[in-house]
């Protein structure tokens, strides 16, 4: 357990001088850089002026007590990211429980035991490090609004049923394209392509939860629910095709290969959740709806239509989206035929 901690910058807020000295000395001995504040108000000012990795906060203080500081921090998008360890007297357990319920990371009772202090500070710093990584990961795959909501509400690894729209998109003849050009050009092509696709998906509140080679999977309506997930997914698909046209024009001008994509969308119940381990998890959707979206994407090659959706996705679509019924199709592995529609026209719009 004695792994050397990365020196962190800590703020000790306590109105009592002896307590401040003991905590500061102890934390400095453990390799951290420590700032102090004598009451809650002063603590908040320092928190806003400087950047801290963790705060140790006394509950009983004049001017502004620990509760008020804790509440102010939890309301603040920036300060919310700093873990807070409450420091309290042994007989203040009720107050401590209240703080932990409100969102404090942990607590320590005074007089502080140096071994517990080290363990709790290091555990909180480690959790913060993981959360920072998560935030970075979320921001890679989702809009920052979705990322912040996930971080605020937290997430559990367990899955649940949600109503959502699943989308698969794939580049046609990608093998041929990649064989005809330089590997560096292929990666550049993919990166430019993905930048455009992510943009279209994020603008329509979707989250890309899988990219594999030349294909991607996105989900709309989860993890943050929105009623119009069907319409948003179709608008995203239309914008993806439109952005691709612009991309292809640029490719043509530079004498580079052009690409075509097929998109399949299906809506309905999906099993959504974070799969993986506590340290490394990705937001995943599985189930029949997701399989159907993948089949529809594959079917674009047969139907020769760039965007195919199922009957469920057609429900509640705006009238500016044109639909062409292609009849029922029995997909491999399915017992029932599915009504398939090609999206024929529509005005891509944002939001």
């Amino acid at each position: 357990m004695d792994t050397a901690p990365v020196p962190a910058k800590l703020l000790v807020v306590d109105d009592n001088k002896v307590n401040r000295i003991v905590l500061t000395r102890s934390l400095e001995k453990q390799g951290h850089v420590v700032e102090t504040a004598e009451n809650g108000a002063e603590g908040l000012i320092k928190l806003r002026e400087q950047s801290f990795d963790l705060m140790l906060l006394d509950i009983e203080m004049p001017v502004m007590d620990g509760f008020q500081v804790l509440e102010a921090c939890l309301k603040d998008v920036e300060l919310r990211q700093i873990p807070i360890i409450m420091t309290s007297a042994m007989d203040e357990l009720d107050a401590v429980v209240k703080c932990v319920e409100l969102g404090a990371e942990d607590y320590l009772s005074k007089p502080v035991n140096p071994i517990l202090l080290r363990a709790r500070v290091n555990a909180s710093l480690e959790k913060k490090r993981l959360r920072d990584q998560q935030r970075k990961l979320f921001r890679t795959f989702a809009t920052s609004a979705v990322a912040e909501e996930l971080l605020a509400k937290g997430f559990s690894l367990g899955g649940k049923y949600v109503e959502a729209s699943a989308m698969f998109a794939d580049i046609r003849n990608f093998t041929t394209i990649s064989e005809s050009q330089d590997p560096a050009d292929t990666i550049e092509l993919l990166n430019n392509y993905y930048a455009l696709m992510f943009d279209a998906i994020n603008k329509h509140a979707g989250i890309v939860n899988l990219i594999q080679g030349d294909g991607l999977m996105a989900v709309f309506g989860a993890p943050v629910w929105r009623e119009d997930h069907r319409e948003q997914s179709v608008y995203a698909a239309l914008q993806m095709q439109e952005l691709l046209q612009v991309f292809n024009q640029q490719q043509a001008e530079r004498n580079k290969p052009q690409i075509r994509i097929g998109i399949g969308i299906a809506s309905g119940q999906v099993i959504a959740g974070y799969a993986g381990t506590q340290d490394r998890a990705t937001y995943t959707c599985v189930g029949d709806t997701v399989n159907l979206a993948a089949r529809l994407e594959t079917h674009t090659k047969v139907a020769l239509k760039p965007i195919l959706i199922d009957g469920n996705t057609c429900q509640g679509l705006s009238s500016d989206i044109g639909l062409e019924p292609l009849g029922d199709v029995l997909f491999k592995g399915k017992t029932q035929a599915v009504a398939v529609y090609a999206v024929t026209r529509g005005e891509p719009h944002n939001g």
Partner: protein
Amino acid sequence: MSQIDMHVFNELKDTAGEDFIGELIDTFIDDAPNMIAQIRTGLEKQDADVFRRAAHSLKSNAATFGATDLAALARELEGFGREANFDIGDRLEKLEVVFQQVAGQLGNLKP
């Protein structure tokens, strides 16, 4: 009679570091009379908040140094303060006597 639990005191010495224990003792011996004065002010002005907060601080510091009796007396006063009950008998006088003993013994423990 020893007012200091040496087990607690030695742990504090480990936590703060040998070189800092002297400064820590001085800080306490400087600060504690202010806390006691505030307890008295709270009592005279019947200000339960001032009374309770000062008793709370004194309790916390006394416990830090292993001054068990002093901590217990301060905790008792904190309880009175929480209930805004100022009928504390001679507890404050007792506490002052115990503090003098604690201060003397801590002074001798300085390196």
